[in-house]
Amino acid sequence: MRALTAVTFLIAGALSVLVAQDPDQTRKLQLAQSLEQAGEIEQASIIYEQLVQSDSTNYVFFEALRRAYVQLKEYDKAIRLVERRRAFRPGDVLLTAQLGGLYYDRGDTVQAAALWNAAINEQPKIRQIYALIAQQMMERRLYDKAIAMYTRGRVATGNPVEFVEDLALLRSATQDYRGAVEEYLRLLRSAPQQLGYIQSRIASFTLRQDGLTAARATVALEVKRSPNDIPVRTLLAWLAMEQGDYDAALEHYRVIDRVARANGSELYNFAQRSAREGSYRIAAAAYKEILDNYASAPTHPYARFGYARAVEELSAADSVRPVEPASGASIAESYISIDRSVALYEEIVRDYPNTEPAFQSMFRIGFVKYTRLFDLDGALTAFASIRRESRAGALVAESILLSSDVAVAKNDLVTAREILKSMPAGAPQETRDRGSFRNAQIAYYGTLFDTALALLAPLTSAVDRDLANDALSLQYFIAENNANKDALEAYVRAEILVRQRKHSEALVRFEEILRTAPQALLADDAMIQSAELHVALGKPLNALQVLQKIVSEMPSSIVRDRAQFRFAEICETILRDTPRAVREYERFLEVFPHSLYTEEVRKRIRSLRGDTL
């Protein structure tokens, strides 16, 4: 504050004298400043000298001339100039600090030190003196001396956190990360609310491995000394997470929660962060701990939802293999399945009716039942209960879209269309676009191709919207095949079967198209669909045969590159035959050097070869 006052005073003084200048002085000053900017320091200094002569009290003139002398290395002149000004401003500590700096620049380090010491001895309790002198030292690369000066100032003023940020900055800049963290710990002890700021400052060097290790070790020592100091332990937990050590972080949050009597809320925040960062195993363990130990916590319902979400995600990653148990989790938790998450969601709906966690859980039930379990009626029931609930907010619109998809999967196009009509008028544009596109798709599935084209038109004309590409793609497909309506209708019927996950039936239909209309323009698309169905039916080798046929026997097909790409991809991801995948990707490059997939193919070959790029 005192420093701020001094600076304000200086600026105000400078402005007042500027106002007092006559036009001639202003012109001269501008000319000198231009010369200085152009590197003509000597010329500029002559004009500055004239200006100082005409008004020796003007701070702007004085500072400009001092700066010019320093640049010209005219240290003696600069010293005389500052001495003259000091004569009528004896208490100006800035001038004293500057003067010491000038002596130092001239090579008179003894005189510099004497001046600085004298200034301090005169007013040893004034922090600004130490700050100004340390600044002069820093500018002369005397970092150790600047550190000593700040430390001396701290002792003299009796304030244990004086210059804490300056010292921390200097110490981290000189790679003394331990020392820097000790400074920040000092600040943290005196102002725990500054934790966020301190984290951001420490983050400037925790990107370096040595910085992060030193910081964690230093804070760990402090935690050992004061195990119940919550801000310090929070800092340590954050550093552990920065090092990817979530297990250790969880351990710290257990202590924090207990010491702070947070009733699970600290653990909850930690679990939320872990989940956001994709550490579902740790998130699940933290949520579970809240459920087991803090039944009355206000966050309890949210923790239950968080736990169910983590279980869902873990089962998405692998629903069969055991998941390594987190510390504190029971072994039973290591065997999880998607059914388990649904059961957890259902319990939340039952226990907390008409609450946010219940709405979220119901939506997840619908989503899991549709996308993972393909329980269409169960999904529709779940989504319907959300759609009826105006308090569910954005989930209503999402449930409408997904309900419509489920109805299509049930081949109930009328219901699918009706559901979309209930889209709230206030839904965001992007959501309404998705509804419009689904409407066009429903018309397409109903073989109402002209209607579909009309519905797609507004979407295709708004090229800045996300759905424009999908809309264009469908529009192009209909337009290309509209002339052969029989084939197109057969294709659409087969596609609906795909949506219904009736893979075998769909495959028969697509193969029938290929038999009855081998010359149809959509024959290659039908083959791509067949290949995907073979994959879905667990027959990847059949898929490869179909894809091979597209590449080798359909020279005019526009999906040949896609077929070859998919061929290699199946070798890579399903057959896990890396050498073959590499060969097929290489073949792709040979045959389709200008394809849109080329860059991706190159990347995949590099990755499969283990190239380090």
């Binding site: 152009a38 320093v70 820093m138 500018e139 800049a173 790679q175 290489e586 040979e590």
Partner: protein, 424 residues
Amino acid sequence: MTKRAMLVAVVFANALVCVQGQTRMLVPMDLSQTDHLKSYGLAYWVLEKNGQVDWLLNYRGGSFLLEYSEVVARECRIRGIAFEPLSAAEAAQVFSNVQREEANTDVVRLEKAPRIAVYVPPDFKPWDDAVTLALEYAEIPYTKVWDEEVLGGKLSDYDWLHLHHEDFTGQYGKFYANFRTAQWYVEQQSMYEREAKRLGYSKVGEEKKAVARAIKDFVGNGGFMFAMCSATDSYDIALAAEGVDICDVMFDGDPPDRSAQARLDFSKAFAFENFKLDMNAYRYEYSDIDIPSSDPPPLRDQTTDFFTLFEFSAKHDPVPTMLTQNHVSIVKGFMGQTTAFKKSLIKRTVVTLAEREGTEEVRYIHGNFGRGTFTWFGGHDPEDYQHAVGDPPTDLSLHKNSPGYRLILNNILFPAAKKKQQKT
């Protein structure tokens, strides 16, 4: 050669056997090339595997002619490099065209992948330096060396050395005026001082000059040195200022020698003479070698800033010809702390490879010292007109055909060339 290396060579040689009637493959380096920069990496890759590369100077932008093999063809496809398979007859025709007496073209055989070292400080980020960016993009392996390795005589393990835009004068890049209190500046200065002390020098400036002299020995003993931006002029200043304190008090703790300018020994410098030092710590400039001066920053329209590559006789001056191979002869300019070299200050023994026509600005120079050579290129990043401290890295996958970056990569292959008797 170890048994393992021999085995690899035999396997690779076997793979070179043509299978489809092609005996050679041409990697064109004219406008038909899809990735010029990776093409250099491919040539290096072939050399590394004991293959041979013929560099067709001035033929379709300085193309490469390789033995055809499925292995190499596949590698071209994976790296996105355009190539043309040639039959024996077509290859003979190309050779015959290139070696016609009246054509300014020639063939240089590249035989051995040079061992590459890059002089960079620890914690350096590749995007701070165009050469390492180019090496990494072209997939050419290199080793990082710094003061300890250079002073410890480790340069003899390498054929080619690139100098990062280091300041060899001990003035910390002359960033004092604008960055003296910035954390990175303080950090760098403190790290350099510690390193100098550890290596037995009382001042960073003296240690850097010793490094400069060690590099000079490396060149004298047959090494190839390539430098860009401020590593060029600051290097020569360091050589000329041997035994002279040119650093101000804020750099080394004591004032400079008042007669520093008069005591410079230009005979010790590689490329420049009669230059005037700029010892003002507040100015972002080392001397008057750099043109236009970086302080004040030049106001220049990048849409009109170009420089021209000189054309040399491929048959009589193969070295400068190699260094200037390109698919264009006019290259867009780019700035740096040292952008270009003032023509009047360049020694007469130095060859100018590129200049900004009608001006004093020389962009690209080459010279010999002892048994080795040095090649210096002004400017910082050929695809970032005014690269500044903290600017994001240049993504070279967006500049696959950069003529400026090609000039850098010419330098890497040039030491691989088989020495042949010069005709003049």
